[in-house]
């Protein structure tokens, strides 16, 4: 059984090796650089307590904490934020005129997804997890993953990400 120093060393090595990848996923989940850093920081803090059990294969657990924390943060934040009367402008309508690139379109389209739909999209189509793995990460059923993915893709297409092939 490794000692505390060994665990700390392996954790810090993991952070050095995987922080960039985690930040990329977190950025897709949050759409904001600061929020992404904060999300990764929180997820890593949370896994310290269980590092002794997951050190050999930490990615699935860290990913799970990251994704669930992202969804839960949105839930906690939702009741504290003031709703605006006017919906955000639709990017699609402006896209042709302004020539905004696909990256901006996708980011704003992702922003309009429900957090769990967004998480499903990121896990399925960026992390390339299977439906079952996505369901396990988010703690939902495979059927829910399917329906959330279907609805999210429809929403993305509606938001003019229509060149996308899933």
């Amino acid at each position: 059984m490794p000692g505390a120093d060994d665990l700390q060393a392996s954790f810090e090595a993991y952070v050095v090796a995987r922080r960039g990848a985690l930040l990329r996923t977190a950025y897709l989940l949050t759409g904001d650089a600061h929020a992404a850093e904060d999300l990764v920081q929180t997820a890593l803090l949370k896994v310290v307590g269980t590092w002794g059990r997951i050190a050999d294969h930490p990615d699935p657990y860290v990913r799970r904490v990251l994704a669930r924390e992202s969804v839960n943060r949105w839930r906690r934040r939702r009741w504290r934020e003031v709703a605006t009367e006017e919906p955000p402008e639709r990017v699609a309508a402006d896209r042709a005129q302004d020539g905004v690139d696909d990256r901006m379109v996708l980011r704003q389209a992702l922003d309009r997804l429900a957090p769990r739909q967004r998480a499903v999209i990121v896990l399925r189509y960026y992390e390339d997890l299977t439906e079952a793995q996505t369901a396990e990460v988010l703690g939902i059923s495979v059927g829910t993953v399917k329906s959330q993915a279907r609805d999210a893709l429809a929403r993305l297409r509606l938001e003019a990400v229509d060149t996308v092939r899933a």
């Binding site: 922080r19 930040l23 897709l28 650089a33 890593l44 803090l45 990256r103 960026y126 060149t163 996308v164």
Partner: protein
Amino acid sequence: MSTLHDLLSDLADDAPAGRPDPGLWGRGVRRRRRRQAARIGAVVAAVAVVAVLAAVVRLQPAAPPPAPVDVPFGQLHLPRAVHAPGPWAPGTDETGAPGPLAVVGLAQRNEATGLRGVRTALAVFGVSAVDGRAVYLDLRGAGAGPFYADALALSPDGTKVGYQRHESWRGEPRVIGFGVYDTVTGRTTLLDDPDNPVIRGGVASELTFSGDSRHLETTYSLTGSEGARQDSLVVWDVTTGEPTVAEPAGHYWMPIPGRAPSGVVWSRGGETFTFDTATGRTTSVRSGFDVGQAVYGPDGRSFAAIDLAGADGTPWRLWAGPRPDALRQLDPGIDVDEILGWRDPRHLVVRQLPDGRAVEVDIVTGRATGLGLSLDRELDSLPRFAADLWANPLVDGVAPDRAGDPRRPWQLGAVGLLVVLLVAAGVLGRRRARR
């Protein structure tokens, strides 16, 4: 056309690079410790709440069964062991009428004052003749006493408790009348003498019920004088509240109450008098000794009396027989200080003071049998028994539930609630800080 994966990868290129935080491990370890402490706190709080709730449930006295209203005489029993209620036991104001009583007595009772204070005072209690439960009697107008065992009477059938009513006058209690508490209905009859709003004279003499449980016998001055030869024997019909003078004033000594199945009985010198409450006539029988107490048997003919045996300090003697004029001296093996009652026309129950040891005496053979009575140490004085109930078999006494301070559940609940609130505040504070 790009795949969604490609688009997402492109978008992820905008993610910040950032640098690893070197203190992350340490903060994570501290976070884990805080969470463990919070978990332990939550468990402790939950255990505390459960313990408090359990204590509340356990400490709350179970609701007593309804008072027996109409119980056949054969089901009423005197206890061998007389137990006072616990000092925090409830009173009849809370429990309702207790039903026929076997015993009344005095014991120390606690009263909560304020949040933590306790006031202890002598109080009257009764022991049920039906189930042996002991309960404090909240007697209307009795005030804080003073209570003397002699100033308290239990009717022979156990359905009425007679007592003195007091008021405070210049810091001292004084007697303003009498009261009779009906143990079956819970009603109180106040006995007032309109000519004597303050009762003076021989009020310290014992209260007694007549053998038919209908009259309360009192001795006091009808003129309001504290002087000698001023006391009258006044009997009160407890059903109408009407007083009748059974023996007018004029005697130096107060009458010594006795008992018969009907009428009012008292002794004076060598004579035993019987006052017929229906006709107002008084008859008497003469004994060849100075009568301390005279009691007629349940058949109205057998007779027992205590012989005061002069003033030379010799023990009192017991005489009994089938008729007042056919008595024989008995030796029950104890110093006979009081005749308690009859088990039947042939068997008499007597006790000695101050230990309350009692024996049953066969007035034909003179054979004495111990009754094995025992008294709770909490008793302030010897208890008074419902005399008619000596005719029924004795039963074991019922030890009281030791009810605790009624504020205790609320105090524990408040502590538990405080713990829960503190833990909740800690958890909320932690969450806010985390956000």
